[in-house]
Point group: C2
Chain length 225, copies 2
DNA sequence: TGCCAATGTGGCACTAGGTGAAAATTGTGG
DNA sequence: CCACAATTTTCACCTAGTGCCACATTGGCA
């Protein structure tokens, strides 16, 4: 089965699972129900997902995917707010009704995660992945290794800030905030949150030329071992 | 059953479970084995823990408990490194062999969490709780509400930094670092990491008198909704 | 001391999540 | 239409976890 095809099937299952989880809770939803809803046998569900809760992962992962993609394509010479703003504009024109529905489900799963530990896991794991990818991005921007302690600290703090903002915005949307209110000034707020969380090290444009000169400056020489 | 007694039983089960998890993996350990190791019936284990993996929670929670307790008792007029240093000294004189063994098990569970998703959950959940308690601490230090967006951002970033440092130090200890090398200069490093993650807002002494004047300054006026 | 009530524990049957392996179905090139 | 591989289904089976009732232990009280 092609990787793409597999991804689509998983996503399809995930949609139905998320819908059922939201409608009747995780405990109140059985594997059989998910299978019936998506029109596959139960066994096939377990072939695609190791557990019931993990059925929600693709829809959650997809809701952070654009953020991840945006961070991956962040050119060194641009500021974070600039890049977010242009990418958001591009995304807005590309996203279809399916994408909007998925985003809605993603937000609902985020909300469910507040009360369903099994889903909170999935959400935290998704954020965990953001953290790792962000470490790579930060490492290249600062000219350090991706497992440098300072890089890991910055990545963890920044992705934690992004998580909080995601939860905040998501909660707002579920409570009836008009999505059109999400304007450019919010990207400035997000970028500043990242700047604050990283002590100003991440968020501004970096000059390619000066990066090598700074390399090593941020490493954890002071930690005794 | 008294709350204290219940806590002790859970901890006892957790010790055996952690030992078995470390020795033979989570999947390789059955509920029956844990029950036998601790001398209780399997049924009683499930009365105390909702799942196999959650048996590791108390030992993990305990390993962040001293950190939590230290943060809770952080007086406004002291810097973070000062407070950590004195509390660590006090702790070192109080901790017994049992406490040391538990700390060792806690570090091992942290390490296992790298490969065992079920345990990573427990670890992230423990960190999640640190984040919440830290929010309360930060709120009082800054004179803001504990659910203020700025407070949540600082708490998330700071606790993420603490998590990374925990993982880093834990990994070091498991790889043979001498525990005695954990001196005062490390507390300065930790405190600086927290300072960086919070844009300098958390870590230094705060003057009680000036707190009310600053209240409201950090709120998220700029986010559009 | 002896009784009683509350509460923790054990045993056992049972549900549900999840897997292994072979049969059945679907898809695909000749 | 056939041969063949890839996927799905069917079915037996395993283990984590629950409901229920009987039993044991504890602690209060006369």
């Amino acid at each position: 089965m092609s990787e793409q095809r597999r991804h689509r099937v998983r996503l399809e299952i995930s949609r139905e699972a998320a819908r059922l989880f939201w409608a009747q809770g995780v405990d109140g939803t059985s594997g059989d129900q998910i299978a019936e809803a998506v029109g596959l046998s139960t066994r096939t569900i377990w072939r695609h997902f190791r557990s019931k809760e993990s059925c929600a992962e693709p829809i959650i992962a997809q809701s952070v995917e654009w953020e991840l993609a945006t961070l991956r394509s962040w050119p060194p010479h641009r500021s974070l707010e600039e890049h977010f703003a242009t990418e958001a504009k591009r995304l807005a024109s590309e996203i279809g009704t399916q994408g909007q529905a998925d985003a809605g489900l993603g937000v609902k799963m985020m909300r469910l995660a507040d009360t369903e530990p099994a889903l909170r896991t999935a959400w935290l794991m998704a954020c965990d992945q953001v953290e790792h990818e962000l470490a790579a991005v930060i490492a290249t921007r600062l000219g350090l290794e991706h497992d440098d302690l300072q890089v890991r600290l910055h990545a963890a703090a920044a992705s934690a800030a992004l998580r909080i903002l995601n939860e905040y915005v998501g909660a707002g949307l579920l409570d009836g905030t008009d999505p059109r209110k999400l304007g450019d000034e919010n990207f400035a707020f997000i970028a500043d949150a990242v700047r604050t969380a990283t002590g100003g090290a991440v968020g501004d444009p970096v000059d390619i030329a000066e990066v090598p000169a700074e390399s090593g400056e941020g490493t954890a020489d002071r930690l005794a071992f």
